[in-house]
């Protein structure tokens, strides 16, 4: 029985910069859409990438996180994994985690896929036999073949994704959290990933996926939320949430383009006269 519950979770991250960097940073932070920029009483600046997030995920929930860069998707995933801890509110988790947040930073580039998988399995605390099983399973899913014995620095991002997704879904864990990386997969991978996600966790799992690829979200998820500046602005089925997101995005872009066009005409006027 897995469960993942967030109650009024607000995340604040202190921004540590040296004095000379500070003004530069605040200028950059204002232009980036990275939540709200504030200053706590201690004088250290902070950003608030998540504000009052409430979620309740249970067995069988496969949640899609939608939103543009800096909307808080990655922070939300890291809060679910207790890597980032809430400033206020409560995050309750019942179940073991399997994470896929990046491709490769924790891998040893010189070592083969097989050796890296062995360490992946060691991190999960598996016995020697279970480790061998995991490697076999991943070899079959990833279709890496002879590449599995080559150093991982020779892998493409698609190959890394196949290997790491295979490993993350092969481990007997209840909760799977996947960040943006999944967009590196092709259509065939998405199909396989769907089949695998449905197969290996039919009754006992929670999956949370952040992605910019609608086909990934439609295939893998059965519910969705959209984040905007750290707030949940939309909930529903993945297709509906995604389509509303795209519609609003194009509308704001059209408005912007229109505004710029008008601005451009005004600026050009004197030149026409001259």
């Amino acid at each position: 029985m897995a469960r993942l519950m967030l109650k009024d979770v607000t995340v604040r991250l202190p921004v540590v910069t040296s004095f000379s960097q500070r003004s530069l940073f605040s200028a950059a932070a204002r232009t980036a859409t990275f939540g709200r920029l504030g200053r706590s009483s201690s004088g250290v600046g902070f950003v608030e990438p998540l504000t009052d997030i409430s979620l309740d995920l249970r067995d069988g929930d496969r949640l899609a996180l939608i939103g543009h860069n800096g909307a808080g998707k990655s922070t939300l995933l890291r809060t679910m994994a207790s890597i980032v801890l809430p400033y206020s509110g409560e995050a309750v988790r019942d179940g073991e985690l399997s994470l896929l947040f990046n491709l490769g930073t924790a891998l040893e580039a010189e070592q083969s896929g097989r050796e890296n998988l062995d360490f992946y399995a060691r991190y999960l605390g598996l016995t020697k036999r279970e480790r061998a099983q995991l490697i076999e399973d991943v070899a079959e899913f990833s279709e890496l073949g002879a590449f599995l014995d080559m150093p991982v620095r020779t892998y493409s991002s698609g190959m890394l994704l196949r290997m790491l997704f295979g490993a993350a879904t092969s481990s007997p864990r209840d909760i799977l959290l996947v960040d943006e990386v999944i967009s590196a997969g092709d259509a065939r991978f998405v199909q396989k990933a769907k089949r695998r996600a449905l197969q290996s966790f039919t009754h006992r799992n929670i999956t949370v996926v952040a992605s910019h690829a609608p086909e990934v979200l439609y295939e893998l998820c059965n519910c969705a939320i959209r984040l905007e500046r750290g707030l949940i602005v939309d909930r529903g089925d993945p297709r509906g949430v995604w389509e509303r997101y795209i519609r609003e995005k194009t509308e704001t872009e059209q408005e912007k383009a229109l505004a710029e066009a008008v601005e451009g005409v005004r600026e050009n006027e004197p030149q026409i006269e001259g």
Partner: protein, 263 residues
Amino acid sequence: MTPAQIGLRDLVQGVFNIPLAMSLALRELRTRFSRTTLGPLWITVAQALWIAGIAFVFSEVFEQDVGNYLYFLASGLPVWTYISTIMTESPTTFISNKGAMEQFGAPWTVQVWKRLTVSALVFWQHMLIWLAALVLTRPPLSFDMLWAIPGLVILLATAWGVLLLLGVLGARFRDLQPALVAGMNFMFVLTPVFWDPEQLARDRPMVTHLNPFYHFLEIVRAPLLGRTVAPESWAFCIIAMIAIIVLGCVAFARARRNLFNWV
């Protein structure tokens, strides 16, 4: 759970993950020397050359018997190298393992145990030179040399605390590491590592009694040289060990909320 509780749970789970940390340490050493012919033996070669160089020059300068001086160096330099490495590398304990901290959901203190194991393995490689010097120069052996073992245990336990404490502080204060690198070079000359405090014409408490590194050097080296460790050194090291371990655990538990953001 509060951040502090999560931090404390991490510390406890870290202990259960020592076997994982050990295999990670072995892997790190293997990859550090991957595609080299000598492999980890380079660690021994580097230290041996250093000791040979200092022995060659300074036995003349200090007008000492080469054999005695060589044994003195081989007993002290590896201990100093160990202390110095721990001090200069501990600020990056967490910084350099960010990927592992967010990828596996394993306790973060595994990285502390990993660093400790790597440093202990490197120290063992360095002590091979001491073993060679022992065979070459044949100093008088006695059972009192075994006092080096409790000394070593205290040294390693303190190193664990330092890795944790400075690992947290080093993630927050990026000046710490370059400051320690500068400081440890200074302390190398100040601490009686390649010269014997017994050679000093008068007592200089700055380099001995008031120098914390001197005491940690002494609890391992003095027994190897057939000398008795001063009770003051034992007392200082045991108190420092407990204080640093406690401070490290408190710092980690308190910083748990922001640690990932700092690294």
